[in-house]
Amino acid sequence: MKKPKIVNKKWLVIVIIIAFLLVFSVLEEQKSVSARSIVLAMSIDLIDDEYEVGVQLLRTDLKDKQDFITYSTTGAHLTEILEKLSHDSGGSVSLCHTMVLILGQNILTQDQDRAMRFFIENEELCNNTMIVASKDSPLEALSVKLSNGQGGGYYIGGMLRNIVSDLGVIPITIKDYIKNRYRIGNCVYLPCVSVEKSGETTFISVKESFITDGVNYSILSESATKGLSLVLNKLKSGELSYKIDNKMGQVDIVKTSADIKVQQDVANVKIKAKLNDRAYVPENIDEKRSVDELQKGITTYVEECFAACQEKGLDIFYLAQRAYAQGKDFYQQNDFLENIKLKVEVDITMK
């Protein structure tokens, strides 16, 4: 006679596995969400060979009000700094939801990417985390309390999403940053933020761009930044303004595209733009004149951008990379960038 089965073998195995997993979870130091300090924004700078790191957290003890709290510390190693910040904030610092990382000029030009590699290789920050350069102290940009009550870091994180169409500045993520650093010339572009005050009002301005190859750097003006966005095919919407006979006009960008061809001493930039003049057209000015003015304006933006970077030896249009992609080797000459002449062609279609 067969013995009746007391315990089904399958369920026994499942129960054993669950028991093991539960025991491990209890034994190991697993931090629950409530025991973590979820960082919304972060800043890093290099001061006298030491890192100065700031983190901004959302206060969870206030029920009705949204408030932010910023912790900062300095140290020679980032692991040690993160431990200190965890201790100060009372929870394990968790960086995977960080919206924005604000970098100081020193860290971008003197650190040789040690800090950035730390975050990428240890997968501390998410690939989608936005990064910006700060004109002033990054900790100040992070911790400043703005007139709308928000913390600087959190505000920048929220604002960066629409920055390219509104302001012509290209938002970049950690993934873009590291990709560009590995290109020939090592040149990267970042939005450049600055804290500004007007009377009682404190606000953050993001109109310029910070360009660096890890050593040299250049800060592009607002117009040069627009030129950069157009050439790198990033400015696909937003507005362009122009001036004729002291009258202001404005057009909406419907679509733009750019193409760059590199030869030994010349780089030909062709920009095609589809614009809509419904935004604002000055009185008594015909379309042809507006188009001419816009063409001149765009050409100036692009040339200004290129000249500012060429002067500092920054290959911001990735001409060497483009030459390499075409299978040419003239980019290896030391004076390649110095000798390049830029030819800009703008083709505008009004809708």
């Binding site: 054993i16 491990f24 931090k31 993934k175 873009d176 992609a325 299978g327």
Partner: protein
């Protein structure tokens, strides 16, 4: 007989297992390693090696549709030799692949859990599936398939990747491709575990349907391996050499991040289930070989799992040691075994089939001879 039933799988299930077997470990660390050696043209290594793997799997299919290699009518000494070789190959792959998966889990799911705990939990689950046989393995793969499909759909709907095709240029065939192909051989050539299943035609499906499924499976393999490699290079360029875990890095670039923060759970889960199937498949091959010598007992599978656990936790212990092991001379040993065993199994099966055919012909001749005599006699009587 019970063994044959336990390891009997349908053609579609074989395709799914083959898909998981090829794809699982080519989408995690391999893209990073290939980019670090062959930079922007490294996807060509992937195309070449995956094509070879698919071709070899068609040979495996040829063997498996006639039954598991250990159940076929081949000399016992040959079965024993093949079992020893596959056991050696599977134990190395199990530990190398196992370590890679555990590193993935320890970085993606848990921050502070030691390898020993993760390995123990995984080995237990996978030994259980492996012990149950090919049928349970294939059925698990079928169930898990929906998680993979969901993750792919999630990725397609929410992905936000700016592809930069300039990173793929210039198209150049150089010695670096051969170096990359040689150095990372351990991540390719996984055919032998599927020699231990018996493939039977699906009940309601015709040949046309199988052809469609096969084409789809091949397309999906190329999309998952070569397609991911192309996206990875377009997205990260040469910086790909810093990006461990290509699958997670590519799929984490989504729109959801701006709404609720990092959302990589579907990817992690989908890879995890593929890993469980693949790890179980390797353990299944290992335990099938061991059972050939020690009998069909659960303890044999458990001992195999215990050996793998000890090597992963106490022998390897971290991703760097795993990389050293995977790129050592052992890779040549593994590849030689994989090709030699598959080819030998096929030849042995064909010889055995032709012998059988001859025997059948002889038997039918013998049967036909008395019949002819009888007819002559009958005609004489008329």
């Amino acid at each position: 007989m019970e063994n044959i039933q336990k390891n009997k799988i349908y053609e579609e299930q074989f395709l799914l297992l083959a898909f998981i077997s090829i794809v699982t470990f080519k989408i995690v660390m391999l893209p990073q390693y290939l980019v670090s050696t062959a930079s922007n043209n490294s996807y060509m290594v992937m195309i070449f090696m995956v094509a070879i793997e698919i071709m070899m799997l068609t040979v495996v299919y040829g063997v498996a549709k006639n039954g598991s290699i250990l159940e076929q009518d081949v000399p016992k000494w040959l079965k024993g030799a093949l079992a020893i070789l596959v056991f050696a190959s599977s134990i190395i792959k199990c530990t190398v692949r196992g370590s890679e998966g555990i590193a993935y889990i320890s970085t993606s799911l848990y921050a502070n859990v030691s390898w020993a705990f993760i390995t123990l939990a995984l080995v237990m689950a996978c030994v259980y599936i492996a012990q149950k046989g090919g049928k349970v393995l294939a059925r698990s793969a079928q169930i898990f398939f929906w998680i993979i499909a969901f993750a792919v759909a999630f990725f397609m709907i929410f992905s936000q990747i700016n592809l930069d095709p300039i990173n793929l240029m210039p198209f150049k065939i150089s010695g670096d491709l051969a170096i990359a192909g040689d150095k990372y051989l351990m991540w390719f050539c996984d055919f032998t575990p599927l020699l231990f299943v018996t493939v039977v035609p699906s009940k309601n499906h015709g040949k046309k349907r199988l052809a469609v499924w096969t084409s789809l499976a091949i397309l999906c393999v190329f999309l998952f391996t070569v397609g991911l490699m192309l996206i990875f290079i377009c997205t990260f360029g040469n910086a790909g050499e810093l990006m461990g875990n290509a699958f997670l890095n590519v799929s984490s670039l989504n729109k959801i991040f701006f709404m609720i923060g990092s959302a990589d759970l579907p990817t992690v889960l989908s890879w995890l289930v593929m890993y469980i199937v693949k790890f179980s498949l390797l353990l299944f091959a290992m335990s099938s070989c061991a059972k050939f010598f020690f009998g069909d007992k659960a303890i044999v599978a458990l001992i195999c799992g215990a050996i793998v656990f000890c090597i992963i936790c106490f022998g390897i212990g971290n991703l760097n040691a795993n990389y050293q092991l995977a790129t050592s001379w052992l890779r040549y040993f593994i590849v030689a075994i994989e090709f030699a065993v598959t080819a030998t199994a096929y030849i042995a099966m064909r010889i055995s089939q032709s012998k059988k055919q001859k025997q059948q012909n002889a038997q039918s001749d013998n049967l036909a001879q008395p019949n002819a005599n009888q007819t002559d006699r009958a005609q004489g009587e008329i």
